[in-house]
């Protein structure tokens, strides 16, 4: 199981600026290990965010995203106490979801 994501959000009016750090190797399938063997492709394919269960943001991504990906995005219509959850799924079917509660500013 992958490590939890680190999610930070700051509210400005009704817009939440969300920053998320995911823990993932994001292998491109082009790197060789110490034995000279290719490390197989292993990367996050889809990312989605929900505000109180309603989808607000989603993304399809390739292996060109850096290792331990960091994303920032802005969600409209957010208020303190709202639940924001972020999910990702990689090409091996591994997935993870983490949730935070937006705090007052």
């Amino acid at each position: 199981m992958a490590d939890p994501m680190k999610i930070r959000a700051s509210l400005q009016g009704d817009v939440a600026e969300v920053r998320v750090l995911m823990s993932h190797p994001m292998e491109t399938g082009q790197r060789k290990d110490a034995d000279g063997k290719l490390v197989p492709l292993h990367f996050i394919q889809t990312i989605s965010a929900r505000l109180n269960g309603k989808p607000v943001f989603d993304a399809q991504t390739s292996q060109a995203i850096s290792r331990n990906p960091v994303f920032a995005f802005k969600v409209k219509g957010a208020k303190p106490g709202d639940k924001l959850s972020i999910s990702w799924e990689d090409n091996t079917g591994e997935k993870r979801t983490d949730e935070i509660v937006l705090g007052p500013t």
Binding site: K54, A64, F71
Partner: protein, 156 residues
Amino acid sequence: MNRVRRSVLRSVGAAGVVAGAMAAGWLKPNAALAADRNTAAFEATSTAGAMKALSMPAPVDSKDIELKAPDIAENGAVVPLEITSNIPGTESITIFIDKNPFPYVGTFDVSKGAMPFIALRVKMAESSNIRAVVQAAGKTFATAKEVKVTIGGCGA
């Protein structure tokens, strides 16, 4: 010319191509099911090929897309990008890096309640143009910026 008939024929043709691709084993059935992921676009080795696979019309250059990226990236494994679209009705932001082995980086759908903004870090194999393509109200806009890479991030 009967336009409805034309489009019906075209969609039947496209479905046939997908079925053929699955039969030939190019597309794994579960990949085809996974939230309509456009595998062909992700596997395209040129920006033009990826845009074609995404059925994206040729974009119009726009100054209303802000693409922030370093002029020189010392480490190609971590290149920070920040994209803001000031085009009304922005639905999605798509990123291409022309000279990467697979130029299509991803599409970020902001139409369901997010602002037209995305920040992320990408890998770059070598110095290249980065393109940010915005789809808004059925139209396609783009902006590009060249980033010079000192050490490529392909092996990272």
